[in-house]
């Protein structure tokens, strides 16, 4: 029976200790307040617990309120008029990327070669038209200058076929645009992501 009573008292101590903080702040219901007071009247251990808790709270209350070394007022400032290259670079990157897509699509769909026959693509569009004229010229001109069988057909334009000229400028265009996009994008991203100075209007 004594053991049972001791156990009950221990439970009571545990419950009381849990309530001591709220008891100090007078945040218990009237009934709980009365129970805690009744227990405290008989229990030396819980009284000591209460006193040490009171001392802790008193120390916390005595901590000084520290004044900050400066004011945190928000200053009124005009929006920055300083020119920044980021918007222009962003626009240029977008423009170059769109041109690249257009050029790439046109190249994929043979847009630049659409008007040429397979023969024209090989020899140039002037080959079939000018062949007879060239042959006439061949008959009239010095045969030693225009020699058939030297690897070049008579009448072949000496500056290259038109089809091969197109192929020659389309590729550099695409690669050039791709390079431009990479460079512009890289510069824009670097400018965008680099550490920024704190905004001026934060501090007063």
């Amino acid at each position: 029976m004594w053991n049972k009573l001791a156990g009950l008292r221990k439970d009571d101590c545990g419950r009381t200790k849990q309530r001591l903080s709220a008891y100090l702040d007078r945040r218990l219901s009237p009934e709980d307040q009365r129970r805690v007071e009744q227990h405290l009247a008989d229990c030396r251990g819980c009284q000591e617990e209460l006193h040490s808790l009171e001392a802790t709270v008193a120390l916390l209350h005595r901590l000084p309120q520290v004044s900050p070394s400066r004011s945190f007022r928000i200053a009124r400032t005009e929006p920055s008029r300083r020119w920044t290259p980021v918007p222009a670079l962003r626009l240029a990157t977008v423009g170059a990327a769109m041109l690249l897509i257009m050029a790439f699509t046109a190249d994929l769909t043979n847009f630049f070669d659409a008007s040429q026959s397979p023969i024209d693509q090989k020899w140039g569009p002037s080959y079939t038209d000018n062949r007879s004229t060239a042959m006439e010229g061949y008959n009239k001109a010095d045969a030693g200058t225009l020699t058939p069988g030297d690897g070049q057909e008579p009448g072949l334009p000496s500056d290259g076929a038109l089809g091969s000229t197109e192929a020659a400028w389309v590729r550099p265009l695409v690669y050039g645009l791709a390079g431009l996009v990479v460079v512009l994008g890289g510069v824009t991203a670097w400018l965008w992501l680099r550490p920024k100075r704190p905004p001026k209007h934060r501090a007063a």
Binding site: A22, Q65, P68, S71, F72
Partner: protein
């Protein structure tokens, strides 16, 4: 004549910076002290306070409810939590770097008492730093800032019961720390 917080908040919501700065003047010290006790470092506390006030100015149109103080302290506490998470450490601060008070002791206090008091304050700060962040926040708001349980619940976005529990555990743990370090 002192204008009500609610009027200043309404003006601030309409973009009146002067009204907002009036609120800043009223509560910057409180926000700074919360950050200082949470982080334990004056420089970090200044940064956290500045960020909190700037964030409050940016977001004041979205403020719901009328208690600006609790709202600002919530923003400050969130900033402190983020900073603690980033640093992944408990705040600790050496006694010498505590610029919490003037260097010279007040004339009413002997130098010995002054040193003793400073040491006790440093012990309390270390004890606070040893608490889990939610308990620390609850104890700071209750026992240093003097907020009611209802306001603390509003700052911490939790129930009154949780506030009671956190304060009780925090005080108990701090008391044990101070007992352990021989302050009682």
């Amino acid at each position: 004549m002192r204008t009500d917080d609610s009027d200043l908040v309404e003006n601030s919501k309409r973009g009146d910076l002067d009204s907002f700065n009036e609120l800043v003047e009223r509560y910057q010290k409180m926000a700074y002290n919360l950050a200082l006790r949470m982080l334990g470092d004056p420089g970090a506390a200044e940064d956290a306070t500045q960020d909190a006030l700037f964030s409050a100015w940016k977001n004041i149109k979205g403020m719901r409810g009328g208690n600006f103080r609790a709202w600002l302290l919530r923003i400050t506490a969130n900033g402190c939590r983020d900073q603690l998470r980033r640093l992944k450490r408990r705040p600790s601060i050496p006694l010498e770097s505590l610029p919490f008070e003037p260097q010279a002791p007040p004339t009413s206090e002997s130098p010995e008492d002054y040193v003793l008091r400073r040491e006790v304050q440093a012990q309390i700060q270390e004890g606070l730093a040893s608490l889990p962040s939610e308990q620390r926040l609850a104890v700071i708001l209750c026992d240093i800032q003097g907020l009611s349980y209802e306001e603390i619940a509003s700052v911490m976005k939790c129930s009154i019961g949780t506030v009671k529990s956190r304060i009780s555990r925090g005080r108990g743990q701090l008391r044990d720390y101070l007992l352990h370090t021989g302050n009682f």
